[in-house]
Symmetry: C2
Subunit: 68 residues, 2 copies
């Protein structure tokens, strides 16, 4: 397992946090996703054989938020 920390821009409320969390959890290989509204970041534990930080960023962007 690896851990990625992704900066997430555009979240302004708890429902945004839920949205990003659910999108990340929907990526195959993601074991755990912790999304922090105040820090504007997501900490994701994932199986590096199944997904990658670029996939995780894409999932955040597909949910309508900016990732970097």
């Amino acid at each position: 397992m690896s851990t990625a920390t992704i900066k997430v821009k555009g979240m302004t409320c708890q429902a945004c946090v839920n949205s990003v969390t659910k999108s990340l959890q929907g990526v195959e290989g993601v074991q755990k996703a912790d999304v922090d509204l105040a820090k504007h970041q997501a900490t994701v534990t994932y199986d590096e054989g199944k997904t990658s930080p670029s996939d995780l960023k894409k999932a955040v962007e597909d949910a309508g938020f900016e990732a970097e």
Copy 2:
């Protein structure tokens, strides 16, 4: 083209609206998605040969919101 009106629960800010809009626009066959925060609803114009209201609801739920 057909139009579906979907009730969306859980949106509390404009970023939520953007998230639902982007998720709906990502469904193949969706031509237009108007999401209204105050009315808690999404009005979606779609190609009935490519997608269906149940697919649209799934997209909303995958974005972390409730659809009915």
